[in-house]
Structures are given as C-alpha cells and as structure tokens.
C-alpha cells in the first residue's frame, strides 16, 4: 500500500502518535493492508453488500415516556463540567 499515509489517517482518526509509534504502526498496517488486499481476487459482480446478518428495518417503539437517567447521572463521568454542561476549550473567538 504505497499510498497509505499514516500521518494523514491518524489525523482523520484524531489520534496523536509519537514518531516512533508512527513508524511502528505504519509498518504493521502496511503488512495488514497487504494481506486484506487478497479480497481483490474475489468476483463480487452482482453481489449485494451485507451490513448486518439479520437486517431488521424500521424498528420503532411506541413514543411513551419512561424512566430515564437523571441529568446528574448522565453527566457523572464527565471529566470537566460546570452548571450542568460539558466544558470544552473555546471554539469561537
């Protein structure tokens, strides 16, 4: 996979990599991509893709209010919160 650019894909995936990790993961992923390329041998003409083994479509339920998590419980694992809100760095100047 000559066109696999680990820096670019890691950026898309939002994962910071140290230079040593980049080198190591890049080489390993090159091997793995080389292996999975064997799927190119398979004739898939006219074959429909499978996203789920047993697709159930339009699964709905009645719109009835039921017990749910409290605001406090839903936020209990937030690493930074204030006033019942998740805190993030400034987005707009």
């Amino acid at each position: 996979m000559s066109d696999f650019n680990i820096q670019y894909v890691a950026k898309l995936a939002r994962i910071d990599l140290a230079p040593e990790e980049e080198r190591r993961l890049g080489a390993q992923l090159g091997n793995i991509l080389g292996y999975v390329a064997k799927l190119k041998e398979v004739d898939v003409t006219g074959v429909e893709p499978t996203a789920h083994p047993f697709p159930l479509v339009n699964v709905t339920r009645p719109d009835e209010p039921a017990e749910s998590l409290s605001h406090e419980e839903a936020m209990r694992n937030a690493p930074s919160k204030a006033g019942g809100l998740f805190m993030v760095p400034k987005i707009v100047e």
Partner: protein
C-alpha cells in the same frame, strides 16, 4: 460431597441443587469465590477488581429469598455468583474495557444481560480482564496486565475475554459473561478447557455492552458444563426494545435440548478447514471427537465453505471500520480520560493518543483508512460483498447439515509474548472462529482433549467448535451435551482450580 471448602468446584447445576437443599448459602458460595480469588488470582490475574460489599448484599438478598421459599424454578440462578467481562455495564461499578481511556468510569445503568441475570437471582460481581476494547486474542492488549492460563502460567488464556475463561476454569466464579466479535468467547474457552457460547446475532441484547463492531458483537456465557451454558443463555436471551438489532421472537426452552443421542443428525466437516497449520495434537483430538459424535449416532458429511480463505481479510476490514466509528465517542469530553488542548480537536487527539493502547490505535487507524474517501469502495464495500458470499456459503451448507464441527483454534494456548510483535499472525489465530460472526450464526466451544502426548509440550486443553444455523442453539446444546456426557473432559480441573 465434601464440605464448603469444595463448593467452588461445583458447576451451576450442582450449586443450585445444594442451595435448594439449604446445604450451603449464597453467602458461602460467594465466599468460596472470594477465597479462591485470594488463593490464586495473584498469579492468574483474571479480575481487574471486585466490590465485596455490593456482592455480599446481593448474596444476602438471595439467602433471604431462599429462606422465604423462592425456588430455582422461579429464579434459576438464585444465589449463583456470576462475573462480568469489563465491557458490560453494571450500575455503580467500574466499566473500563481494560483501557486507560475509561479509567474511573462508573456505569450509570445495568446492561440488559445484567438486569436479566439479577432477575434470575444471580449474584453479579467483578470486572474481568480482557484485551483493551475486546481487540485481541490473548489479553496481552489489556492496559492493566496479562491474565495467565490456569493450565500453564507461562501461556496466554486466549482473548479477548481471557479473564472470563481463566476465572471460570480456575473456579473463581461459577460462570461469567463475555463478548464475541470474532471468537472472543470460543477461543479463550477452548484454550482454558471450558464451555463458551457465541449466540446467534440478535438473540441476546447488546444494550449496555460497550460496542466494538456492532454488526458482529454478541454477548455469551462461559461455563463449566454444557447444561450450565443452556441455563445462562436461557436467562439472558430474548428480545429487548433497547437494542434495535435484537430479534423479536420467542426463546425456546434450551434445557429441553439436553439429553438423548445424536441419531438422525447430520454434521458437516469443512473441506476448506482441512489446511496446514493445525497443531498435530489438536488435529488428533478433533478427529477423535468426530468419531465419538459418529458413535453417538450422528452422520458426518463433508461440506464446502468456498470463501473461508477470505474470512480473515473480510473481518479485518469490517471490524476495524465499525470500531473506528464506535470508538469516536471517546473524545475526552463526555466521559473518561481528558488531556487538555487549545481547541476541541487538539483535546480529542491528545486524549486519544494518550488513552488508547497500540492495538486499539492500529484498528481505529485501519478502520478510518478503509472508510476514507477513495478507499471505501475498494475495501469496505468489497468486504461487505464478500461477507454476503461467506454468509451464503453457510446457508447453503446448512441446507444439508444440522451443524458443522472444527477445531476452535489451530493450536493450543501459545506463550505470553509469542505473537505480540506480529499483529497479523495474532489475527490469523482466529481463522476457525471469525466466519461465524460474519455470517451471524451461533457457535460453541467445548473441551475435547489435551495436548501433552509429547514430553516437550505441557498438558493444555483443546477445544471442539460446533457451529449451528441461525437460532440453532438447541441443536448445538444437544450435540455438545451428548459429547460431553460421553467423554467427561469437563470434569478435568486446571492445576490452579
């Protein structure tokens, strides 16, 4: 039967008989687990943590119910200690997926399987070690530590549910629940010499299971016997409105499938699985198991799964693709680890760089790549089409047979560190288990013998895999139970047990 000190060696049906006769209490049963954990877990390292007070309160409640006359007919698991893989939510308990990024996370609710275990009277306790986010085959990818194999502490217990298998094999609990995305229940069960079941996709609710690859993941039980597997599946199976992929159909009585011979059943042997790379002792044990199934009345025939050779490549595109989407939620904002940054994107990237281990990074990056613009059709869409062909192979094979048998793994438990340097080799250790997840079928691994005929190999368990039709669990149990009862491998105890 011996006194309370031997309680831990009972299986679930043996324990419930004693609980029902009031020969022991739920509290004593739980204490037997704690005592065994104290005895062996310093070496085994199956448990990441356990909450003694919470478990004791559940056991005391079970004892109150038993005293008030509640029977195991009403609550089949009343007083039975069952432990959980660290990927299942248990309200008020940590759920970390053996990852640094979820350190300190406390579940705000119960997974549906946990709710159902509790409704059945089980004492649900403990967090069992695993490969980080269920990605791996050895538990070496845990951010905490590597669990060892109770048959040989220099070897891996399998993975990703290594803690689940090791703890049951070492009698630290009476059963456990894990998850199987490409073999993560069957493979460690095989390598630790116990029973592991991957139910049909959609039979068991995934609500409260931290998602890895949503179209492949299924929760299932680890037990000391086939009968116990049926009992645990009975407790957790069935439609759940909170999982839109759970199938709305009635659950049969699985225990009714136990007993009897195998006359009239046709069992398939896969032509394409007859490849090199299978350890000779594994091969010998599985061939003997096939003869045993024949002697019990089954007819064996060769079947073909022509696209088997493409299953690993298909899996290692689809599973990482789904993982890259599912694990996008670990953003350093809503829960878990947070490493500050100047803006949200930098915060995300730093948090994920610091919080995920190497295998998780490898798979997220692989998944991101195969879904990225320009590569989607060549990799992801093509893999989904090959998945259709793999699924059709199974459907066709199941037109002529009731089940398929194979080794669960090509080799017995390998040594700690043996495959960590080469992820591709680690991936290829799953070749017999992954196609079942791609097709959505059910599969079970049961003990079928041991290595050790040669003096240079220790005595290690070997697993027989039985694959069934979609929702064919009753047939799996019938075959597995008949085999188990006629051989007795399940009565062998690991040295640490």
């Amino acid at each position: 039967m011996a006194g309370v000190s031997m309680l831990r060696q009972l299986n679930i049906s043996g324990l419930t008989e004693r609980l029902a006769r009031r020969e022991c209490s739920a509290r004593e049963s739980l204490q037997a687990c704690f005592d065994q954990i104290a005895q062996v877990d310093g070496t085994l390292k199956a448990f990441l943590s356990y909450d003694v007070a919470n478990a004791e309160a559940q056991a005391d409640e079970a004892d109150r119910l038993l005293a008030s006359g509640v029977t195991h007919r009403e609550k089949p698991l009343l007083g039975v200690p069952i432990a959980l893989k660290d990927v299942l939510c248990h309200r008020g308990q940590p759920c970390g997926c053996a990852s640094k990024i979820l350190q300190g996370f406390v579940s705000p609710y119960d997974a549906t399987v946990v709710t159902r275990l509790k409704e059945a009277g089980a004492v649900v306790f403990g967090r069992l070690n695993m490969d980080e986010f269920a990605m791996g085959s050895s538990t070496e990818n845990s951010s905490a530590w590597t669990t060892v194999n109770p048959w040989d502490p220099t070897r891996i217990p399998g993975g990703s549910s290594g803690g689940c298998a090791a703890s049951v094999a070492a009698n630290e609990c009476f059963g456990s629940l894990g998850s199987d995305t490409g073999g993560s229940i069957r493979q460690p069960a095989a390598l630790c010499g116990i029973v592991g079941l991957k139910p049909t996709y959609g039979l068991v609710s995934r609500f409260g299971l931290v998602a890895f690859a949503s179209s492949l993941d299924q929760i299932g039980p680890f037990t000391k016997s086939v009968g116990d597997s049926a009992t645990l599946l009975q407790a957790i199976a069935g439609h759940d409105p909170r999982d839109s992929t759970s199938v709305p159909q009635p659950v049969p009585d699985y225990r009714k499938a136990l007993g009897g011979d195998l006359r009239g059943l046709r069992i398939g042997l896969v032509r394409e699985f007859n490849v090199g790379g299978v350890d000779p002792e594994v091969d010998t044990a599985v061939r003997a198991a096939v003869r045993q199934l024949e002697s019990l009345g089954a007819e064996t025939v060769e079947v073909s799964l022509p696209h088997s050779d493409y299953a690993a490549a298909t899996y290692y595109i689809i599973a990482p693709a789904e993982a890259s989407a599912n694990l996008a939620r670990f953003d350093g904002i809503r829960y878990g680890l947070r490493v500050e940054g100047r803006d949200p994107a930098e915060l995300n990237s730093r948090t994920r760089g610091a919080g995920f281990g190497p295998e998780v990074k490898r798979r997220i990056i692989l998944g991101t790549y195969v879904l990225s613009s320009g590569y989607y059709d060549a990799f992801y869409l093509r893999a989904q089409k090959v998945r259709t062909l793999i699924r059709n192979d199974f459907l066709k094979a199941f037109e002529s047979v009731d089940a398929i048998v194979s080794p669960t793994t090509p080799t017995p438990a390998f040594r700690i560190g043996e495959k960590t340097e080469d992820p591709l080799q680690m991936y290829l250790s799953d070749i017999f288990t992954i196609s079942c997840n791609l097709a959505g079928n059910c599969g079970i691994s049961i003990p079928c013998g041991f290595t050790g005929a040669r003096s240079d190999v220790p005595r290690l368990p070997i697993g027989l895999q039985i694959l069934g039709k979609p929702f064919g669990e009753e047939t799996l149990f019938r075959i597995a139970h008949a085999y188990e009862q006629s051989t007795g491998w399940h009565r062998e105890h690991a040295p640490m047990a």
